[in-house]
């Protein structure tokens, strides 16, 4: 008699090992004229960290957040303000950034996670925008002008290549953590909550407390990404522009593209969106328009609407369904 077995360590780590290989090899290929891809890869990795957390929250547990740009911002600005206004040194400042995001995510989560469906989405939307507004108005954050000359986190030097390695090594660690979580009773609890909250409750799962845990985890991941954004990606200047409602919605789009309940989909979503942005930018450069950023926004909006129209549970499963239908 063959019993079902928990997934073996070898099978579990097969994916991450392939990812590790890709992380080591691919950036080395981006040389010469392709070296501009390196900062792009950095940003993609940073986004991937946020999207991983958001996938756990939305895809697995079924709780929608339209405000995750807020936690991203708190990480970046928490660390940034700590260092520029309070002259805290690098590592403590990073810790403060992550802690700020985590703590506020906890407070917000405990307050709003009793809401369901679109009420929850609206509450997260408002919180995300409130965080953005407060950041742009406060003095110590530099308001709309932002902060300059933040400390740089060094990793075997300062080159774009080493930054890619640093960021993606962290992405790998987060992937492994997420894989551990989803292939465990905790992961089942998340999916059970998504499936039927009352049934889950009757089976002994403390639904509210699990929701808060995964919400805070996703908040901490977003803040971590924010800290990396501030101290690794763009330490010379940190402004409020990336932390708008649009970014929150883009994050959700990345989750949707990746197929919602899929850890690897999170990476795919981040990659697809980074790629799309770059393609739009390149096309713009080719056309030589001065208003390229506005066209970029327009096209992003279009793509966002199209993806949502064609979604339902993600573009990739959607495409899979189309191909299955064609075959039969």
């Amino acid at each position: 008699m063959k019993f079902p077995q928990p997934i073996s360590y070898t099978r579990l780590y097969r994916g991450p090992m392939i990812l590790l290989l890709a992380i080591i090899v691919l950036p080395l290929l981006a040389r010469g004229q392709y070296s501009y891809l390196l900062p792009l890869a950095q940003l993609c990795g940073i986004w991937a960290i946020v999207v991983l957390g958001l996938t756990l929250l939305m895809g697995f547990t079924g709780q929608v957040s339209l405000g995750h740009a807020g936690w991203f911002a708190l990480g970046a600005y928490g660390a940034g303000v700590a260092s520029s206004a309070y002259h805290v040194s690098l590592w403590p400042a990073m810790f403060i950034g992550i802690a700020a995001g985590g703590l506020l995510a906890f407070i917000a989560g405990v307050s709003i996670l009793r809401l369901k469906g679109h009420h929850l989405a609206l509450a997260t939307l408002c919180i995300g925008v409130i965080i953005y507004e407060v950041i742009t108005k406060m003095e110590i954050t530099g308001g709309a002008a932002g902060l300059n000359d933040l400390p740089q986190l060094h990793f075997f030097g300062d080159s774009d290549l080493s930054k890619v390695y640093l960021i993606w090594f962290i992405v790998l660690l987060v992937m492994i953590w997420a894989t551990h979580l989803t292939e465990s009773p905790a992961g089942r609890a998340l999916r059970a909550i998504h499936g039927d909250e009352d049934a889950a409750e009757s089976l002994g799962i403390s639904v509210f407390s699990v929701k808060v845990k995964v919400f805070v985890a996703s908040g901490i991941l977003a803040s971590l990404a924010g800290v990396l954004y501030a101290f690794v990606y763009t330490p010379s200047y940190l402004g409020p522009e990336p932390f708008t409602l649009i970014f929150s919605v883009l994050l959700v789009t990345m989750v949707v593209i990746g197929g919602m309940g899929n850890i690897w989909g999170a990476l795919a979503g981040a990659a697809v969106l980074t790629g799309m942005n770059e393609v739009i930018r390149l096309v713009g450069e080719r056309l030589g328009s001065t208003q390229m950023s506005k066209y970029e926004e327009l096209i992003s909006g279009l793509i966002l609407v199209l993806i949502m129209i064609f979604s339902n549970d993600g573009l990739i499963p959607g495409l899979r369904r189309i191909f299955q239908r064609k075959r039969s």
Partner: protein
């Protein structure tokens, strides 16, 4: 009088509606009983009160002398329940559905994933497989719950509850939607579970199943208890016939 499950003057009002009105009964450990009554009698509400889904408006429900506060608490006390309209985790596998109730859902342990943890997982999966064997669903272990036939889905709900190793099992209309063969094997399963020492309380509409299966019957009508006794006693009770058929004889 027993200390096992005591329902004492239980009342539940929803606004003006008295879904359950001054109902009292008790269950002995190891017994197999049913709550019956016409539609709207308050049977499922009574169940929900025992399962801790909402608080009582009046009276008490106590299990082993303790008040039941919420579904989590009920589960911890050893009360397991199924739902009237099957509420499975549709996108999870049959095996995973059973595993949900088996605990150890901490984030920390899962994050580190030590070999000891994986061993515990292995044992859980083994036990879950045994539970599936008990209800006859082991072949479907890796099938998505939404993809198995309806009769099997009902069995899966029961398996899910059994995985909790409960002391008392509340079955809410377990035979609804099942054909004759399935109902017969359901009766066999219920007897087997009872044989393991688990106390069972059913809500059912299928009179044939109820009358041939249970020790005691409690009859509700419009929220009130109108009769209680063995199946034979209840069948001969004119008030019961009145409630169901409108005439004093059945």
């Amino acid at each position: 009088m027993t200390d096992f499950l005591i329902v004492e003057n239980a009342g539940k009002h929803f606004g003006g509606l008295r879904a359950v009105d001054d109902v009292s009964f008790s269950l002995e450990e190891g017994s197999l009983s049913a709550v019956i009554g016409p539609n709207g009698a308050g049977k499922t509400t009574m169940f929900n009160l025992i399962a801790g889904v909402f608080p009582l408006t009046s009276g008490h429900v106590r299990f082993l002398r303790k008040t039941i506060r919420n579904p989590n608490g009920a589960c911890r006390m050893g009360i397991a329940r199924t739902f009237q309209n099957v509420r499975l985790f549709k996108d999870m596998t049959v095996l995973d559905n059973v595993l949900v109730g088996m605990g150890d859902t901490g984030f920390l342990k899962a994050s580190v994933r030590l070999p000891k943890f994986v061993d515990a997982e292995r044992l859980r999966m083994k036990r879950a497989y045994y539970v599936l064997e008990e209800v006859g669903l082991e072949k479907f272990a890796n099938t998505r719950a939404a993809d198995i036939p309806f009769g099997h889905q009902r069995l899966l709900e029961i398996a899910r509850s059994l995985a909790l190793k409960p002391r008392i099992l509340l079955l809410d209309e377990p035979a609804a939607g099942l054909n004759r063969t399935e109902t017969t094997s359901l009766a066999g399963l219920i007897r087997k579970i009872r044989g393991q020492g688990i106390t069972i309380l059913l809500v059912e509409h299928d009179m044939h199943l109820v009358m041939n299966l249970v020790d005691r019957v409690i009859v509700l009508d419009q929220g009130k208890k109108i009769a209680e006794g063995t199946p034979a006693e209840v069948r001969a009770n004119p008030r019961v016939c009145e409630a169901y058929l409108g005439t004093p004889t059945c």
